[in-house]
Symmetry: C2
Subunit: 395 residues, 2 copies
């Protein structure tokens, strides 16, 4: 388990460390740039071309150095006679990426992009059109609702917020009750991630319209945790010593909040099927690690389990949680292909595909999915949700 | 009517024209600054002191000039030995203000504030604590839900979005039906304004918890309009000639969408009391002007009418719309005190208080409210909603 949990610290450190500088080879750039779909209304920049390059632009007449900072690389922009700086990135993977601009040493959001919460800040994001983007496109199909819900938490004496997706027929079919998926974000993200950059609502609307997924409710809450005060933190830039990270009990707080506050609140306020057989949990990265810990320790609460770039479950894990095998109906594990080496192992060791095969052999309905040509990024997780949603609540 | 509609063009031009430069008199500044409530989680800057001054800070080691730009004034920041720039604004009015930073000629959002849509862009906003902030504070009372709803519009062949507030008992009291208020944003804003910077949900939750307002549904849609192609635009910086602005028919598109798409969609998907007696419309600035045009022309649709910094209704207006007097139960007009001169007239002429007195004299239940010491800003409109919400649906 520990090997998988190391992903979290890597994610947390990724954004702060933009290590290299680069200059794109302009000779090879295809001049078919179009405004990004993530731009603010009416804004012409940033743009993306058919190769997946990003062209950024900002007016900064008195500046001496302006850079585009995306996927941990900084690209120099060039100033024209009007003081407008423009420049291109190398090719980006399909899907959604956080980015920022540097203006004379100030790291700032691009004033023309929309903003998303990730890497522990609200900042710019950009969409690189993907070959499979139809599955999360805005279409004229029946749409569900995204509900922002405030509630009082007895476990941490605060008012918390979650977002809840209800399927298209929820408001009109008022006697029907629905299964529920609890869907968690990653480290440095919050409860807004799955609805904004994750496109949860559109993914589900399209799947339901196509008859590929059962209508169900999705709850997206905040799984952020604080470093325990009695545990020393790893120094910046250092990898924590094996076994020292994450600190023991790091998921206890959210486990308690989920079981004692969130699930009862949802079952009171929404027309749920409020039993183990109609309840699923999944999450990305840190949210996948939380899903693993919580579902292994409470197999009487969840029937379906999904880990997206958030570790794996082994036969040994299942043997240490005997009820898991009897009660959990389906297990799903996924990664982006760029998170795996040539042997299918994750960067921290472990082979999730082999884990899944072994679980199948002991009789657990287990599924493994690899998102083609994507890394530890949202396109991997959109695709993972799209796959997982078709597998659950089919009984 | 035309005199009132001029507010819109002023609002549209306000943000682009930051005309003056200023340096705060540091000697008088009270050193009791605290992080703004509108900051991103965990961010120490910007800060606000008890005088309402804003202290901005940004790291920009290679920059030569950095400024804070708020309420149409630019304030120079000063660089320290670490390349961190800091500086204060003059006193700001209570409530919410849009702002931005300038780094060597680049106008950028403050990377540490949350972002809001206004002045035709997603950008920084800051909250100056107000003496009456309790009415929109987050409290441990029953909370309603904010629902994001996508729907297909037959009147403009597109998928549109609105936000819907449902009161705290809506999900549990599932046989009850509710009145509906249609609540519109101003020019350069969108359907997110009333829930984000407007604090609609918290204002209503607190009023309902105190028994001061009836529970009702609030629909916040997008009232943006395009300049008609056959009408010349006023030149930048020029005031349009009297009578030439706004172009005739500017509200026709939204009127059609509201009556033919939005209201039927809401009545289908929410448990509304779907008749004139249980329907209200109000809006701020441009949204108030739309409210005036729409409710005067369709008095069989709305019973309660609210104009917040968005013009006034005269006896002449009512005489030209004979059914209005018989059918509309209540009219509410409000302004920020700084929008009025010493005679109570708006900057473009007209005396809304006198208009309201005259309407009372012909038997219309009319109300006039002035928000103390606020301008054409969100604090005026939060207070206006807070007043208006207590007056409607009481029969």
């Amino acid at each position: 388990m520990k090997r998988n949990l190391l992903f979290l610290v890597v994610l947390l450190l990724t954004f702060s460390g933009s290590l290299c500088f680069a200059q794109t080879d302009q000779k090879t750039v295809k001049e078919d740039f179009k405004p990004a779909s993530t731009n603010q209304p009416g804004k012409e920049y940033p743009q993306v071309n058919s190769e997946g390059r990003v062209r950024a632009q900002i007016s900064a007449p008195e500046a001496h150095k302006v850079q585009l900072d995306i996927s941990a690389v900084k690209y120099d922009l060039v100033k024209d006679e009007n003081g407008v700086w423009t420049g291109d990135s190398d090719r980006q993977d399909e899907g959604f990426h956080y980015y920022q601009l540097w203006v004379d040493g100030a790291a700032v959001p691009d004033p023309r992009s929309k903003y998303f919460y990730g890497a522990s800040r609200w900042g710019s994001g950009i969409e690189i059109p993907a070959k499979d983007q139809e599955f999360y496109a805005l279409k004229n199909v029946p749409h569900g609702q995204i509900v922002e819900k405030l509630y009082y938490s007895k476990t941490n004496y605060s008012i918390r917020r979650c977002f809840v997706y209800t399927p298209p027929d929820y408001e009109t079919n008022t006697l029907k009750r629905y299964p529920v998926l609890y869907l968690q974000h990653g480290g440095g993200e919050d409860e807004t991630g799955w609805t904004n950059q994750g496109k949860t609502g559109l993914i589900m609307d399209n799947l339901i319209a196509d008859g590929k997924a059962k209508p169900f409710i999705i709850v997206m809450d905040n799984g952020a945790w604080r470093w325990p005060e009695n545990v020393p933190r790893p120094k910046p830039g250092e990898r924590p010593a094996p076994g020292s990270w994450p600190p023991k009990g790091w998921a206890d707080g959210f486990t308690k909040t989920l079981l004692q506050d969130i699930i009862p609140m949802i079952d009171t306020n929404f027309r749920t099927l409020a039993d183990q057989q109609h309840r699923a949990m999944s999450g990305l990265s840190m949210g996948g690690m939380q899903t693993k810990i919580i579902t292994l320790s409470t197999p009487d609460v969840f029937s379906y389990v999904g880990l997206f770039s958030g570790g794996s479950i082994t036969v040994e894990d299942v043997e240490n949680s005997p009820e898991f095998k009897d009660k959990v109906k389906l297990l799903f594990v996924s990664y982006g292909s760029r998170e795996l080496d040539e042997n299918g192992e994750t960067r921290f060791g472990g082979n999730p595909k082999a884990d899944i095969e072994a679980l199948k052999n002991i009789g657990i309905d287990s599924h493994y999915y690899v998102s083609p040509l994507t890394a530890h990024e949202w396109q991997s997780w959109r695709r993972s949700l799209h796959e997982f949603a078709q597998l659950i609540f089919n009984e």
